[in-house]
């Protein structure tokens, strides 16, 4: 029983993180039609930002908030250089450009910071809380809390605010959105920056448990794509639910089938979804594309 609860707790804790990264990815896809393969690299940027700010003796919480801003700023520059010029061409070109951005950012940071992992430790990273034999580290609790807050905020922003209405309209029908006063280019810009900044903060959050190194983003991108496809490309509630579902599939398949096959099972689930319901499992429940 303890193991069962621990497996659920593990799955939810990881799921919260996946949801946060997938959120940024799906937002960007929805508005720009861009499958951003460089998404995970912004987690890496956020993690390095947090690491260097903490080297300068900054408080951890302040550092992750700043890492949100740093990832956003770098996202701004990258959008101008790599994506804005391609906004009118085929989506494939932007996707290839994002692959280039990914390779560029990984290599640049390997050159600047060396590939060796760096350690970030804060007051949460060593401690766990336990109840009835179930353990959860304080850092993971922080991740879950921040992720839920940001998912909630993003949901509110999109569903209830004027900005969110503009974002959704621009993603549904850019031409008509333009006719009704929405500056679609600026919206794409802001969405990209917000989307990568969310991932940046996710990087800052994971730094204390996963360490910081240049290639850390690659596996996160992959996971985020699984989540986004599962939840439906461009579907915000889908990304949030999808994150938790992937986290739980992973922990249950590791716990009750085999740890060696945990990734195999996750990707099999992905293939199943692609074959049976390519629009994503959550498309019926919450049919809203960003």
């Amino acid at each position: 029983m303890t193991e069962f609860i621990q497996i659920i707790v593990n799955g939810m804790a990881n799921g919260a993180l996946y949801a946060l990264i997938a959120l940024g990815l799906t937002l960007i896809y929805g508005v720009m039609n861009l499958s951003n393969f460089a998404q995970g690299e912004f987690a890496m940027i956020g993690a390095f930002g947090t690491y260097f700010l903490m080297q300068m003796h900054m408080n951890y919480m302040l550092a992750i908030i700043l890492s949100f801003i740093i990832a956003g700023l770098i996202g701004f520059v990258i959008h101008i250089l790599a994506f804005h010029p391609l906004r009118k061409s085929e989506p494939l070109n932007m996707m290839l450009s994002s692959l280039g951005v990914s390779v560029f950012l990984v290599n640049l940071s390997q050159y600047l910071f060396s590939p060796n992992p760096k350690v970030v430790s804060n007051s949460f990273s060593e401690k766990s809380i336990q109840a009835f034999g179930v353990f959860l580290s304080e850092q993971r609790i922080l991740i879950v809390i921040v992720s839920l807050i940001l998912c909630g905020f993003t949901y509110w922003l999109l569903e209830r605010s004027k900005f969110g209405r503009s974002v959704r309209a621009a993603s549904l029908d850019p031409d008509t959105a333009t006719l009704y006063g929405i500056p679609t280019n600026r919206i794409a810009f802001l969405t990209f920056i917000f989307g990568v900044a969310l991932t940046g903060i996710a990087g800052g959050l994971t730094a204390p448990i996963y360490n910081v190194y240049p290639t850390m983003g690659i596996s996160l991108t992959l996971k985020a794509f699984v989540v986004v496809v599962l939840g439906g490309m461009g579907n915000i509630p889908g990304a949030i639910m999808g994150g938790f579902i992937v986290g739980l599939i992973e922990s249950f398949s590791a716990g009750y089938i085999s740890t060696a096959f945990q990734d195999v099972i996750v990707f099999s689930a992905l293939f199943l979804v692609l074959i049976i319901k390519p629009e994503g499992i959550l498309s019926k429940v919450q049919g809203e594309k960003v």
């Binding site: 004027k162 209405r165 503009s166 959704r168 309209a169 549904l172 029908d173 031409d175 008509t176 959105a177 333009t178 006719l179 009704y180 006063g181 929405i182 500056p183 679609t184 049919g287 809203e288 594309k289």
Partner: protein
């Protein structure tokens, strides 16, 4: 109010509009008729700046607008109801209207405009929370026009409002359009359904091959028959 002077536009090297000129006076319903593919929709998109004007000028209330950003035209008072309605299908009726009100000219009172469109289209008021995509064709057209009206425009560009609608629905739709014009909004109407359009327009242009080939000043029965026969290929019995 709107003066189009010798504009050329199109897609890249393909010129769809070839030095077309026309004008719309305040308070009018002006019709642009013509067969499929003569450039009527391109004309409206060029006015809205979704398609770049390559040559010529478009003057609106004395100001040249051919180079302004397309998203600024709504707040200047030009609302474009695109062909095929293009409502935001996965957003609710009220959200569709809010989008427009969010970006309308701040001077117009949103609440008044909202109750005005609900008076015109009481059906929409019953379906506020419903997703736009789940409405019937007629309701979607109502929403498309309502979305334009809540911005409090001075000029509405209407592209094929009758498309895909049943004859009875078309009739009531055109009555509403007439009402809107009476209430003080100028209308530039593009239509293929000439019979219906001719009922309500005060002046009209006939387009062919990217140019106006006929312009009427005052429409009387005699002229009507001529237009029908010569330009629109309808037999007059």
């Amino acid at each position: 109010m709107l003066n189009i002077n010798q504009i050329v536009s199109g897609y890249g090297d393909i010129k769809v509009l070839k030095e077309i000129s026309l004008h719309v006076n305040e308070g009018e319903i002006v019709g642009i008729l013509g067969a499929n593919g003569v450039g009527k929709t391109t004309l409206l998109k060029t006015i809205s700046n979704l398609i770049k004007t390559q040559e010529g000028t478009i003057t609106y209330l004395g100001k040249e607008i051919q180079n302004s950003s397309p998203h600024k035209l709504l707040s200047m008072g030009i609302a474009h109801v695109p062909q095929g309605r293009h409502i935001f299908s996965k957003m609710s009726v009220i959200e569709n209207l809010q989008i427009s009100m969010d970006h309308a000219n701040k001077k117009s009172n949103g609440r008044d405009r909202l109750s005005y469109v609900f008076d015109l289209f009481p059906r929409l008021k019953e379906r506020l929370k419903q997703l736009g995509g789940t409405l019937s064709g007629g309701e979607q057209q109502m929403l498309a026009i309502a979305r334009a009206l809540v911005a409090g425009p001075k000029l509405i560009l209407l592209d094929e409002p009758s498309m895909g609608l049943a004859p009875l629905v078309v009739q009531s739709m055109f009555e509403t359009i007439q009402q809107i014009a009476k209430d003080g909004t100028t209308i530039l109407l593009v239509e293929q359904n000439a019979v219906a359009a001719l009922e309500i327009v005060q002046r009209l242009y006939v387009m062919d091959m990217g140019r106006t080939v006929y312009e009427s000043q005052q429409i009387n029965n005699q002229e009507l028959d001529k237009i029908k026969e010569v330009y629109l290929g309808m037999s007059v019995s």
